[in-house]
């Protein structure tokens, strides 16, 4: 065994995050680490790389006992890691991020030319054509994620750890990443792979370890498992029927229109588009990363001022010049980047859930504590948020659970039009199904939803209508039976070709 972990235990105040966990990693294998949100995957990884100090347990690498005291030491041991949240520095250039700690030097001083060459070398094979001397922060999350992976790969002499690396990548980029990983496996590296996308797990990994509530449940070869069994291991019970596709049931029932957007545009950001949303309708936005889906949503929510366009409902025109105005119009928006735009880390789960509601009521009419408590408990229960209690700071929750809290905040508002930008990113299978079911339920009650997702299956499952976005333009609209993976992919590709010809 390349890496073994024995009886690892880690407690946080009020939480037993890891309880006597064991884990083995062989050279030349991809070992998937699975579990629900809050199962302890990220904690295990952080203990392994010295970011956390475990309470008890032993780690051996190549037969020698190691106890990295800092992530720097772990890197020197040959363990490269991509943490769950993109953990690079947006204020440094791409090259500085890539070479950090191993900068090429000339006469004792860092050579920027050498660094540029080194960085470009490291990015080779990821199909990325970017200027490495620009700040990382100017690039999209997806690009940052790939840079983080490239850095970890270069650092990993023996072990590469990927904690949900694919959460913000699209299919093309995932494929590219997998090629890289397979190559490394062939070179004899041990790779730990965390993901909530079971397809990817089956596609890539050799063995699987499942954690549940901080405990080790099972380690098995992937070949010996099927999807249902795996989910049972993760959840501790069987998953109720997966959500059926929406358009299968509701056939072409055109819903009464509720909101009309016309010519919404912002110069340099998104070209003008029209959008009509019916009551109880789910509109999906499909497109590649960076295509302008988030920007479309931000325009509708008043987060970016539109330079043109009007919005109205049956009553008359709506002003949407700020999030507050949009909220007043009955809109809600769960953003894709939960860390910077979603959670208020130091506030408790209860306060985070009550925040938007409170903001709408105004400061002078506080929501009574008991009411907040009720709300919090209701959503903790309904969305299955894993937390020791409602008073835990949201920042201390696992990534997926943070996402659920943001969702709960907007559900508590009971908006008539809810925009969900990648609502299931980083959410486990159980909760994933739960959220999709929730969308069904809400729309049945009359709420309209705009769903942005990179997972086509998910879009297809819940959308009444799918709009394809490409190069900051809304290029196609698919309805009813016309919605399928093939048609969407086709729409994206076709327009790409047309653009190519036009250019």
């Amino acid at each position: 065994m390349l890496l073994t972990i024995r009886s690892l235990t880690k407690t946080f105040p009020g939480t037993l995050a890891l309880d006597d966990v064991r884990f083995d990693l062989a050279a030349g294998e991809v070992h998937a680490l699975l579990g629900e949100n809050g199962a302890g995957k990220s904690t295990l990884i952080k203990c392994l790389t010295g970011a956390y100090r475990p309470d008890a347990g032993e780690i051996t690498l190549d037969g020698a006992v190691v106890a990295p005291r800092s992530t720097g030491e772990a890197q020197e041991l040959g363990i490269g890691t991509v943490y769950q949240e993109v953990n690079l520095l947006p204020n440094l250039t791409v090259a500085q991020n890539l070479c950090f700690g191993r900068e090429p030097r000339r006469f004792g001083l860092v050579s920027s030319r050498g660094m540029k060459a080194m960085a470009e070398g490291m990015l080779d094979g990821y199909g990325l054509d970017i200027d490495v001397s620009r700040d990382l922060g100017t690039y999209s999350v997806a690009i940052q994620q790939i840079v983080a992976i490239a850095r970890a790969v270069a650092l990993s002499g023996k072990v590469l750890i990927l904690d949900e690396p694919t959460a913000s990548l699209d299919a093309r980029e995932v494929e590219m990443l997998f090629d890289v990983v397979r190559g490394l496996r062939a070179q004899g590296l041990g790779i730990v792979f965390v993901s909530h996308f079971l397809d990817q797990v089956f596609d890539l990994s050799d063995r699987v370890t499942v954690l549940r509530n901080g405990r080790h449940i099972v380690t098995e070869d992937i070949a010996a498992l099927d999807r249902v069994r795996l989910i049972e291991h993760m959840l501790g019970h069987a998953l109720e029927d997966e959500v059926e596709a929406r358009n299968a049931g509701h056939v072409e029932a055109r819903r009464p229109p509720m909101l009309h957007f016309e010519g919404m545009a912002r110069r340099g950001v998104i070209e003008g588009f029209d959008l009509e949303v019916g009551q109880g309708e789910v509109v999906g936005l499909a497109g590649l990363l960076g295509s302008g889906r988030t920007e479309s949503a931000e325009l509708l929510f008043g987060l970016r001022a539109a330079t043109a366009g009007t919005a109205r409902d049956q009553e008359g025109p709506l002003t949407l010049d700020s999030p507050r105005a949009a909220i007043r119009a009955g809109f809600g928006f769960a953003p894709e980047d939960r860390k910077t735009d979603g959670i208020v880390a130091d506030l408790s789960v209860r306060e985070n859930i009550a925040l938007a509601l409170q903001a709408r009521r105004g400061w002078a009419r506080p929501i009574p504590r008991a009411e907040q408590q009720r709300l919090a408990e209701m959503y903790i229960e309904r969305l299955d948020i894993r937390t020791s209690d409602a008073e835990k700071a949201v920042g201390d929750l696992s990534g997926g659970n943070q996402q659920k809290v943001v969702l709960a905040r907007w559900l508590a508002m009971n908006p008539r039009f809810l925009i969900l930008d990648e609502p299931t990113r980083g959410i486990d299978v159980g909760a994933h199904a739960e959220i999709l079911r929730l969308i069904h339920q809400l729309t049945d009650e009359g709420m309209s939803v705009l769903l942005i997702s990179s997972e086509l299956d998910e879009l297809i499952a819940v959308s009444d209508r799918v709009i394809v976005v490409r190069d900051r333009r809304h290029v196609a609209e698919l309805t009813g039976a016309g919605i399928s993976t093939e048609t969407i992919v086709h729409a994206i590709a076709q327009h790409a070709r047309k653009d190519g010809e036009a250019a």
């Binding site: 204020n91 700690g101 001083l109």
Partner: protein
């Protein structure tokens, strides 16, 4: 063009415009004499601002520097008066003391996870208090070596003097630029400014770097203290009150963000020169009363910052527009 350079360019542009305005009003302000004065008079400020830039780049702040400069002057004066040690030895002793002082503050900041603002505030009280304890008098320095340092200058055409201490400042900026932009330590400083946890996950040795940063600032404050003592030829415990705020203002005018992680040492140089220019302008004008002096300094500060912000917004809007 790299967008991170924009604040720097904005700063330089505004500075040049300010120079032109000064020149139009007082043509004599562009003489080598005034230029030499600008370098000499702001030497101590520039040196300490180099240290401050590094601290601020790391997301910290060092309020102790003004007091440390005063302490340095008193320390040197008292040592030269009472011990008979040669001046260079006293310099070395002093630099060791101030560097250790800075390192100790860095150690507290890291070791106890306390905010730098507060630790260095206590350091500010402590250093000034230590200066008082050495002497409450102002102590003149008559040392032949000092005489030599003081008289060391290069006479530029036009009778302007490029003094030794002015050159020490220029050298400090050069060294500061190399350290901040061309060493691993500098990279770690920027990394810390970008976010401590992230920096830690990327393998920055946070503790060692923090101690190093404040030690560097302490060293620069000590060096600035030496320069200041050469400049005034004495040690005075009440000297340089509030210099830390001037230094911070210079760093900010130079385009460095107080939240850390973004900025340039060269920008600070422009910031220091800008502050000096404002002072010179006010003296040349010579009609402002005590109170209007303060108001005008505050107003000009605001003007610079707002102009910079405006310029940045304009150019970055153009920039992102061009991308589409």
């Amino acid at each position: 063009m790299n967008p991170r350079l924009l604040p720097l360019y904005a700063t330089i542009a505004i500075f040049l415009v300010a120079c032109v305005i000064c020149y139009i009003q007082f043509p004599y302000m562009l003489s080598t004499r005034v230029l030499g004065n600008l370098l000499t008079d702001n030497a101590y400020l520039g040196i300490v601002a180099v240290g401050m830039t590094v601290v601020i780049l790391s997301g910290g702040i060092d309020l102790s520097v003004g007091s440390v400069i005063a302490f340095s002057g008193v320390f040197i004066a008292v040592m030269l008066r009472d011990t008979g040690l040669p001046a260079p030895v006293v310099f070395v002793l002093l630099l060791i003391v101030t560097t250790a002082f800075g390192a100790a503050m860095g150690g507290l900041i890291h070791g106890l996870a306390m905010p730098p603002f507060i630790v260095t505030l206590a350091g500010m009280f402590l250093a000034r208090g230590a200066a008082y304890m050495l002497t409450i008098d102002s102590v003149p320095i008559d040392d032949p070596f000092y005489e030599m340092l003081r008289k060391a200058y290069y006479l530029m055409p036009g009778k302007g003097r490029l003094t030794l201490i002015g050159m020490v400042m220029l050298l400090s900026f050069a060294v500061g630029m190399v350290i901040a932009h061309r060493t691993r330590f500098g990279a770690s400083v920027y990394a810390l400014g970008g976010g401590e946890n992230t920096a830690r996950l990327m393998g920055v040795q946070v503790g060692r770097t923090t101690v190093g940063i404040y030690a560097f600032s302490g060293f620069m404050a000590g060096l600035s203290g030496i320069v200041f003592s050469v400049y005034t030829g004495s040690g005075y415990p009440l000297a340089t009150v509030g210099t830390e705020l001037t230094a911070i203002a210079a760093v900010v005018i130079g385009g460095t963000l107080l939240t850390g992680g973004s900025g340039f040492v060269f920008g600070t140089f422009i910031g220091v020169m800008t502050m000096g220019l404002i002072q010179t302008y006010i003296v040349f004008d010579g009609t402002l009363s005590s109170w209007w002096t303060k108001i005008v300094i505050g107003g000009l500060l605001l003007l610079f910052i707002v102009l910079q912000k405006g310029l940045l917004r304009l150019t970055s809007a153009r920039f992102s527009g061009g991308l589409a």
